[in-house]
Each structure stands twice: as C-alpha cells, then as structure tokens.
C-alpha cells in the first residue's frame, strides 16, 4: 500500500489541524495506524471509510477523549497564533481552544429547552462567576441578556428560533440535529467536527443540512470536518476528502479524485475495479450502499 502518495495529497498550505503519525490502540485492536493528515483553514474536509475504519476514533483523538499512543496532533486556531498540541488536554479545554463537535447519536440536554441548550454552549467559555450571579449584579444581568440575544441569533441561523422554548427532547430528529449544531457553534469554534450529521435524515433534511454546512463555512467562516457515509452529501459539500480504512489513510484528494481512486474503490467493494453495473462509491444513490 503506497503510503507516501496519500500523505502528500493530505498536506495543505495553511493547516488548522496537523496530525502526524498518530497510532491508537485498544488492547489488541489498532484503531488508527500511523495516520498523518492536515486540515486546511476554511475548507470542508470529509472523512469517509467503511465502518470500523477509525473515523470516530480520530474525532475522539482530536477532542481529547482518547489519547493516542504515538504521534502528535497540533491545532492552530488562527494564522496569527502558534500551533498548540491537543494531546493531554481535557475535552472542555480543547473546546475553549476552538474545536466543537457533534455526536453520532445526538447528545442534547434533553430536559432543557432549545434556547437553554444553545446557551450552555455560548456561556461555557466566558461567563459571570457565581458571586455575580447570586447577587444579581448588573454585569450578570447584562450577560444573561446578551446570552439570550446571541442564542436567538444562532437559532435563527439554523432555523429553530420559533421553537426556542420547546423542551429539546420534544423536537423532531432533524431539528435535534440542527440544535446540536447550533449549540456547538455557540462555543465559538474555529473548526466544527460533525459526526455523521446526515444519519437518519430524509432527503429533504439532507439537502437542508448541506446548505447549512455550506452556510456555516461561508458566512461564519468556520472550517468543517465531517464524518459521513452519505456520498451524495459528501460530494456536494466537501472541498477535500480523506479516506480511512482499517485505521490507515488510503487516499486524499478532491471528491472527484477520490471517486476514481482505485484503492478507495477496492476498500469499499472489496474485489477491486467497478461493480457490474458500473456503480462506484461516488455515484451510489442515496448513500449507505454496500458498506453501511
């Protein structure tokens, strides 16, 4: 397996993430094997690969849930800052550095309202202390108003402003997804990690999701890193695609390049070459074909 070629294509000019030689093992299972990749500032990078390829493990390494045995991960929030290592930092610290994520199984605060969910994200980094809050000092009241204002703004951005006072668990599935994204955006990230955002959504919701992702990238200037199985979605939003298989990076490039990459096709279809009817990962309708 030619490793230098994908690695070369995985480099970018202005990296926001720099992952070098990361290996993650659990007992006898190697989840990530010597993965090296970079994510460019401002891009929408999609990570694809069969189930068990190590995609979520990579996310978890980036957000401090797992600590890889070898390798380094550095993050550079803005061009004017120096890269900082993410290894050994706690999850909430990593969030403060500018990395936000959503989860494969939506993890909202189910008994809080929609607005309260977003506010938790907004208030996490800087907020008034307990004393000011208890005494009802002017700065506390001001902060509360600000938080509500910015929360409504974010909800408007994702299209949930009219349900601000609904209990989160009462939302539809697609709305919950958008709420989770809104909450993540509330933390003011430089990069947003989306873990299978289209899972369980219908085609209409998928289209809206694609629009939302592009809006986040364009209007909010947030880089997006997403794990996805739905090829249509990937092809329509991603600026670059990285392919993992068995914990290894097997390809990197634009969506079109990946579609035609023989190593990728082999990983998905196993027998190499194209299937009988000429279908390959890039054109599989509806996503989730043979590798789901």
């Amino acid at each position: 397996m030619a490793r230098s070629a994908p690695t070369a294509a995985a480099r970018v000019a202005d990296p926001i993430f720099d992952v070098a030689g990361v290996t993650l093992r659990f007992g006898g299972v190697t989840s990530l094997a010597d993965v090296t990749l970079q994510m460019g500032r401002g891009e929408i990078l999609a990570i694809i690969g069969p189930n068990g390829a190590g995609k979520t493990s990579l996310f978890n390494c980036l957000t401090g849930v797992y600590r890889p045995q070898t390798g380094s991960i550095t993050f550079r929030a803005t061009r004017t800052e120096l890269p900082v290592t993410l290894l050994g930092r706690k999850t909430h610290q990593i969030n403060h550095l500018g990395i936000a994520r959503t989860f494969q199984n939506i993890r909202l605060f189910p008994a809080l309202t929609v607005l309260e969910n977003v506010k938790v994200g907004l208030e996490a980094r800087h907020g008034v202390g307990p004393i000011s809050a208890m005494l009802g000092l002017p700065n506390a009241r001001h902060a509360e108003r600000e938080s509500t204002r910015r929360g409504i703004e974010l909800l408007r951005f994702v299209g949930l402003a009219d349900q601000a006072n609904t209990i989160a668990s009462a939302l539809s599935y697609g709305a919950q997804r958008r709420l989770e994204i809104a909450r993540a955006l509330g933390t003011g990230p430089a990069v947003l990690l989306l873990d299978e955002p289209a899972a369980g959504t219908n085609p209409v919701e998928k289209r809206e999701l694609a629009d939302l992702i592009r809006q986040i990238n364009r209007d909010l200037r947030v880089s997006v890193l997403l794990i996805e199985h739905d090829m249509r979605l990937v092809m329509s939003v991603a600026t670059r695609v990285i392919v993992l298989n068995f914990g290894q990076l097997i390809a990197a490039g634009t969506p079109e390049q990946i579609q035609r990459n023989p190593a990728v096709i082999e990983a998905y279809l196993g027998t190499g070459g194209q299937a009988e009817d000429g279908r390959n990962p890039g054109t599989d309708a509806g996503g989730g074909g043979g590798w789901r």
Partner: protein, 446 residues
C-alpha cells in the same frame, strides 16, 4: 440500564403465581404484614418473638391483611383504570396547573407563607418554638444546601453533616469554648464568614480529588469523610474536647451602631434569625439556578459527555456545587452551636446526613421550594406524632420513605420542572435523545 424484563425466578413463566395481579396481591399482603410490624410494639431484648408476637397478635393480623388487601385493590384499580382516571381528571389537572402556574398566585402564596412564618410562631408554646428552630428551621437550611449538591449537580454526598460539624466546631473554637484557644475570641455572628471559609476549604480539599469519581464511589468517599470527621472529633481530646464536646457556646448578640440585642435561650428570636438567613440563601440560590451556572449544572447532570464537549468545565462546576453546599451546611452549624450552646460528636451522626438526604428526596430533588417543604414536613411530623409513634421508630420511616420515593415518585413531592422531565425520559428506554455511547468507548460516568 434496562435489561430484558425476565419473568419470575422459579417455575413456568406463565404459571398462575406469576401473573401480575397475583404477584401484586402477594406484595400488598406482604406490605400489610410489614406495616403491622412497623406499627406494633417494640420487642424486648432476649425475648425473640415478643415484638413480633405483639405486632401480629390477636386481631392485628387480619386487620393488617385487610389493609394489604385494600392496597391491592387500589393498586390493581390504578393499574387497570389508571389511564381512564387520568383522562377523566385531565380538566381538573389542567385547571390546577393553570392556577399554580399563575404568577399572581405564586406571589400571593409567598406572601401568605411569609405572614404565617412571621405571625404564627409567637402564638406557639415554647416547646413548639424550640422545634421550629432546632428541627424545622435548621433542617430547611440544610436541605436547601444539600439540594445544590444532590439536586442541581447530581452528586450524592453522604457526609454532608461533616460540614455542619465543621461549622459548629469553628464556632466553638472562635468563641473560645474549645481546649485550644483562638488568636482572638469573637462574637458568634463573626463565626458565619469563618465557618463558611472553613467549609469552603474542607469542601475543596475533599472534592478536588474525588469529584471525578463516579456516583456511587463519590457517595462512599463522602460517607467515609463524614465518619472520619466525627471520629477525629471524638478522639481528639486536646483539640475538640473529645466525646465531651464543647459547652457554653455564647448566643448571638449585636452591639453595634446603637443596636443592642442579645439572643437568649428563647427560641423565637432564633427563629426570626433563621428565617432571615434562609431567605437570603434562597434568594441567592434562586438567582444561581437561573444563571449560566444553573444551566451548566443541569447540562452536567443530563449528559456529562455532551457538557464537556460544549466547553463546560465539569469538575470545576461540580466542585463549586460541593463547596456551596458545604458552606450552607456550615452556616447551619453556626446557628445550631449558638442556639444549643453545647455540641458533641454525637450530634453529627451519619443518620443526620441520611435524614437530610431523605428530606431532599421526599420534597423534590432540584426544587428549592420542594426541599424546604419536604424538610419542614418531615421534621415537624415526628414531633406532631410523638405521642403515637415512638421516637426510636423515626429512622424506620426515614428508610422506608427513601425506598418508597425511589420506587414510586423519584422526582419528589413537588418536583422541579427539569428533574421531572429528566426522570420521565429515563422511563422510556427507546428515547432517541438519551443516547448512550458504545460500552467502553467514552470514559465518562453515568
């Protein structure tokens, strides 16, 4: 954590004795018998069966079995016709909610309660005034403090009374009533901030290394800490005067800016003092609950992993809750020490921590109002029933309340809105939003 609901443990699954109605009958009759034992006479040491014989003798068995039967009838009725009953009562329930949710209603009830709290106590006997201060008032304050830890942050603290003890002993120390003398002897009022400081320190020292442990471990560690504090107080004759305790702790007094007032053994002025302290604390906590900190606590309670990913510093915020709860307990300790004038390690037994927990659970974990009502009710009731129920049975009922509340109404008597929602979500295993990571993938505690 829902397992496949298996059937019974012996015999065929569809045997008659496994039918839910029959099992409910067995359980209800069992409850009847237990009730007979619980309300029966005490047994005598060395005469096994004397208590049981007395409790079950004569007409008691059939009457309590009848009670059990009645319970079974009610339970089966609710089981069969519960939904219909609920539907029939729906308009009444809606009306009630409309009334109690109304802001005017709430303000009026608050005013009424204030009037009662200020106006009624002077009319009571000195015994009841004493009960108001030493039981109702103190434990309402303790319950409000524990509510922050258990109800808002979701941390089970079984050593809560340790901070109560620290507050009391701090008062004893700074008023010069311990074998070791302080650098300067102070008025008990000044012990308030000092006790708060001491408890903050103790809370942080205990909490910092332990709050990242999961729920049950934390509970046991706090229990251990509570016992350590008590045993150390009991054994350190030179510092705390050991099991003899501290005596002659002075009452509160103000001699400042022309105001001259001394608290005495009279309970009434202490009641007003506690009311003021309670009111201030409740106001502060109410604001806290609706601030970003309150939301962060709810977030950590509902999904700690998601809270961390959203930037909440979970350990710090738990520590904050722990410290605030500890300080409140310390405040209560100061008031107690000054009112009674005498403290000893036996005043700070584990059963007190458990009792405060019972008041919080009974009243409604997470609800400021609920826990105050719970504490007031459960401290007043034993005194009210003292001629009918022996004092030694009190712990029996505390234990039963804890178990029964968890089985039938975990959200408490007057639940907090969020808690009620959270607990009802737990009842639905298929709830999409309460997602669970694959076992072992995320190290967070549940």
């Amino acid at each position: 954590m829902t397992f496949a609901a298996g059937g019974g443990s012996v015999g065929r699954r569809d045997a008659w004795y496994h039918k839910p109605d029959v099992r409910r009958l067995g359980a209800s009759l069992g409850v009847g018998l237990v009730l007979a034992l619980v309300t029966g006479k005490d047994g005598r040491s060395g005469h096994f069966g004397s208590g049981i014989a007395a409790a079950l003798g004569g007409v008691r068995v059939p009457s309590f079995l009848a009670v059990g039967l009645a319970l079974w009838g009610v339970a089966t009725g609710i089981n069969r016709y519960g939904d219909e009953m609920r539907r029939a009562l729906a308009p009444a329930t809606a009306a009630r909610k409309r009334v109690t949710g109304n802001a005017t209603f709430r303000t009026t009830s608050l005013l009424v309660m204030l009037v009662v709290a200020i106006g009624i106590p002077p009319m009571l006997s000195s015994f009841w005034q004493g009960v108001l201060v030493e039981q109702v008032g103190i434990f309402m304050l303790l319950a409000v403090g524990l509510n922050v830890v258990v109800g808002w942050a979701g941390l089970l603290d079984l050593g809560y009374i340790a901070f109560y003890a620290i507050g009391a002993y701090t008062t004893a120390y700074f008023t010069g009533t311990l074998p070791v003398q302080p650098p300067i002897v102070l008025n008990p009022f000044l012990c308030f901030p000092l006790a708060v400081l001491a408890c903050l320190l103790a809370g942080v020292l205990l909490g910092a290394p332990t709050l990242r442990l999961r729920g049950d471990y934390l509970a046991i560690v706090t229990l251990g800490f509570g016992e350590i504090v008590r045993i150390v107080a009991n054994n350190s004759d030179g510092i705390t005067n050991g099991s003899r305790g501290a005596t002659n702790i002075p009452h509160f007094s103000i001699h400042l800016l022309g105001i001259n007032y001394d608290w005495t053994l009279n309970s009434l002025p202490y009641w007003y003092l506690i009311m003021v302290v309670l009111a201030v604390v409740v106001l502060l906590f109410f604001r806290l609950e609706h601030s970003r900190i309150g939301r962060a606590w709810a977030a950590v309670r509902e999904d700690e992993v998601a809270a961390q990913a959203s930037g909440v510093a979970t350990v710090k915020i738990k520590l904050l809750a722990f410290a605030i709860g500890a300080s409140t307990s310390g405040l209560a300790g100061v008031i107690y020490a000054s009112k009674i004038g005498f403290i000893s390690p036996d005043n700070f037994l584990l059963i007190l921590s458990i009792s405060v927990l019972a008041y919080v659970v009974f009243g409604g974990m997470g609800s400021l109002f609920g826990v105050m009502v719970g504490a007031a009710l459960l401290t007043w009731l034993p005194q009210f029933l003292r001629d009918y129920v022996p004092a030694t049975d009190r712990n029996l009922y505390i234990g039963a309340i804890l178990v029964l509340m968890m089985i039938f109404r975990p959200a408490g008597l007057l639940p907090a809105r969020r808690r009620r929602t959270e607990l009802s979500l737990h009842d639905i295993p298929e709830a999409e939003t309460v997602a669970v990571p694959a076992p072992g993938s995320m190290g967070g505690s549940i």
